[in-house]
């Protein structure tokens, strides 16, 4: 391509020509064009992350962000905090039970949506609604539906004869935890179902028919024929949903603020409470950092998966 360069830069001044020539090297071209993206991420993700690490070993507060090294005092303080220990447990309960419910209901829903029927497009659009509206808005709608006085769910429950009065959903420990999980499942179910639908429809029909002819029942077909084929896709989608659920605070913050008395906090919401509302940057950042190992494992597995894919 070197021969083409002088002809092209004819009439442009020499510096311009030299830059043009340099840009024509694949390597320089590549680095120059990818640089803004890398710079943005380094400055606004990498650098803040480094600050967060400093916060965890210092006594920074919003009032005094310039601070002294305090070693592991924050970590100790956090681990001694009953509400935090509860939040840590809640985060796992919240994430794992949401994921399990999503998987079971999502598989069921995927098979329903794969069947051809009249009005499938409309049904699909309605079922996707929770995933398509902003999380914060969905959480607010549920908060209103679970309102202690005007709960429409309780009204329906009472009139259907399910209970005499209905629980105070967001005001009591277990109903509140249940509500948070429910809203999270509501929100993420469509995503799981879509991923599963795409996966299942990519399984070659001949394989399923062959299994049928060999006398396999639906469970065997699902376990031995479909699951192995859709596993890689499912795996990566699950990891994403796991990471997002594990680190989310929106639903908890809007619905319960971690109440009653800190019983429904998750790591993220309690870190927000401590770091932003109470202004204790060091403590807050230390709590957030508990999210990091899970992220790291998630990122590592996804990375391996993606690398394998790009090498294909």
């Amino acid at each position: 391509m070197a021969e083409a360069a002088p002809a092209r830069s004819f009439g442009i001044n020499r510096t311009g020509a030299r830059i043009g020539h340099l840009l024509d090297s694949e390597r320089v071209f590549g680095y120059v064009l990818v640089a803004p993206a890398v710079a943005y991420i380094v400055l606004l993700v990498g650098y803040p992350f480094a600050i967060a690490l400093w916060f965890t070993v210092s006594n920074s507060t919003v009032a005094h962000p310039i601070s002294d090294f305090t070693g592991l005092r924050n970590l100790q303080g956090v681990l001694d905090d009953d509400i935090f220990r509860r939040a840590l447990l809640n985060t796992f309960v919240f994430t794992l039970s949401s994921q399990a419910l999503q998987m079971i209901l999502g598989t069921l829903l995927a098979f329903l949506l794969l069947r051809p029927f009249r009005g499938r497009r409309i049904a699909r659009a309605l079922i996707m609604l929770p995933f398509t509206i902003p999380v914060a808005i969905g959480a607010m709608a549920w908060t209103w539906m679970l309102n202690p006085t005007y709960s429409v769910i309780n009204w329906m429950g009472v009139h259907a004869g399910l209970f005499a009065q209905g629980p105070n959903w967001l005001g009591e420990e277990y109903p509140a935890m249940f509500s948070i999980i429910l809203v999270n499942v509501w929100r993420n179910l469509p995503f799981t179902a879509i991923v599963l639908t795409a996966g299942i429809s990519s399984v070659p029909q001949e394989l399923i028919e062959a299994a049928s002819l060999d006398g396999a029942n639906w469970w065997v077909k699902w376990r031995k024929v479909m699951t192995p084929i859709i596993a890689p896709i499912l795996y990566i989608a699950l990891l994403f949903s796991l990471v997002f659920t594990f680190t989310d605070m929106t639903v908890v913050w809007l619905m319960t603020r971690g109440n009653p008395v800190g019983a429904t906090h998750v790591i993220a919401s309690y870190a927000f409470q401590t770091g932003v509302i109470a202004g204790s940057l060091g403590r807050g950042a230390t709590m957030s950092l508990f999210l990091f190992p899970v992220l790291l494992v998630g990122a590592f597995v996804i990375l391996r998966n993606l690398k394998a894919r790009t090498l294909d």
Binding site: A4, R8, G20, L23, E26, R27, G30, L33, P36, A37, V38, I41, V45, P48, F49, A52, L108, L109, F117, A123, L126, I127, M128, L129, P130, I133, P134, V135, A136, I137, M140, A141, W142, W144, M145, T149, Y150, V152, W155, V195, A198, G215, I233, A237, F240, V243, T247, M249, T250, A268, F272, V276, G284, A285, L291, L295, G298, L303, L306, R309
Partner: protein, 293 residues
């Protein structure tokens, strides 16, 4: 499947009964899922258009209208809150985010998709993985960074921070679009003396306009519905964006203005829901890094 082995059984009564039972089960299950998914939206709708006296009357069946529908709650939202300002802020910040995202993503996605240089695949995956970094890990240090830049309580802090998640997401999506433009076209142009930059601007970009428009839409809607950073960085009402404004400003002390709150919620949800429904497959592809084809 005994049916396949003995075709004549297909006409038996038992078979038809089983088929009927299957289809009843199917429709019942589907109906349950649809109700579960869409009831909250129906509820927003009912709440928005009810008279206050009807909404808070415990004697009434809450699912139905007992007084004629009203626009009072919507009017309250527009006239007595900063709703119009939030819409304006969302437009301004959203546009800034879209601009930054496009300017940064287009070149990055282009080279990552169409050239290979040392470290290019690692860079691509690295950029994608930053999408996994949650706001809850970074909101504390970023709040200090924002303060250092003098952007405390300003909507522009959001325009600065939102590209941290729109860039990874959009770069990855755009790479897919760029990869689908055949290599032969650019190679031919290069042989004819077109520079690398020229090939990008004059040949590949015009062919990828739908892709670029798609990432504009995603960047805007992702920015529009964000909550955690907005809650952390912005506290005064006239700097809020629409989602934060709706879920925080219609609660005064202990009083929730549910009618207007749900009106705002509905107004935010409708455009986003339409966009995401139209681009669902693309969106899922973006989230999963192309794990779904």
């Amino acid at each position: 499947m005994a049916v396949l082995a003995h075709p004549r059984v297909a006409h038996s009564r038992a078979y038809q009964l089983r088929k009927l039972r299957g289809s009843i089960l199917f429709w019942a299950a589907l109906a349950l899922f649809i109700i579960f998914a869409s009831f909250p939206v129906y509820w927003m709708f009912v709440t928005t258009f009810k008279e206050v006296n009807d909404l808070y009357n415990l004697q009434n069946n809450p699912l139905l209208f007992h007084l004629p529908p009203t626009l009072d709650q919507v009017r309250y939202l527009f006239e007595r809150t900063n709703f119009a300002t939030w819409v304006e802020n969302t437009g301004e910040v959203g546009l800034a985010v879209v601009l930054i995202t496009v300017v940064v993503c287009v070149p990055a996605a282009y080279v990552l998709a169409r050239t290979s240089f040392p470290g290019s695949s690692t860079l691509g995956i690295g950029i994608f993985l930053t999408y996994l970094v949650p706001p809850t890990l970074l909101f504390l240090p970023l709040s200090q960074l924002v303060a250092g830049l003098g952007l405390v309580n300003s909507k522009w802090s959001l325009a600065l921070v939102y590209p941290t998640f729109t860039i990874p997401f959009c770069t990855w999506l755009l790479m897919g679009f760029f990869k689908s433009v055949p290599r032969e076209i650019t190679e031919a142009a290069r042989v004819d003396g077109c520079s690398r930059l020229g090939a990008m601007f004059r040949i590949v970009l015009p062919l990828s306009v739908p892709g670029v428009l798609t990432i504009c839409i995603f960047a805007f809607t992702l920015a529009m519905q964000e909550y955690v950073y907005a809650l952390t960085f912005v506290s005064s009402s006239d700097e809020k964006m629409i989602t934060l404004g709706v879920v925080t400003d219609l609660i005064r002390g202990d009083v929730f203005f549910w009618g207007s709150l749900m009106a705002g919620a509905l107004i935010v949800s409708i455009p986003v829901a339409i966009v995401y429904n139209l681009f669902m497959d693309t969106f899922v592809r973006g989230i999963t890094g192309g794990a779904l084809k």
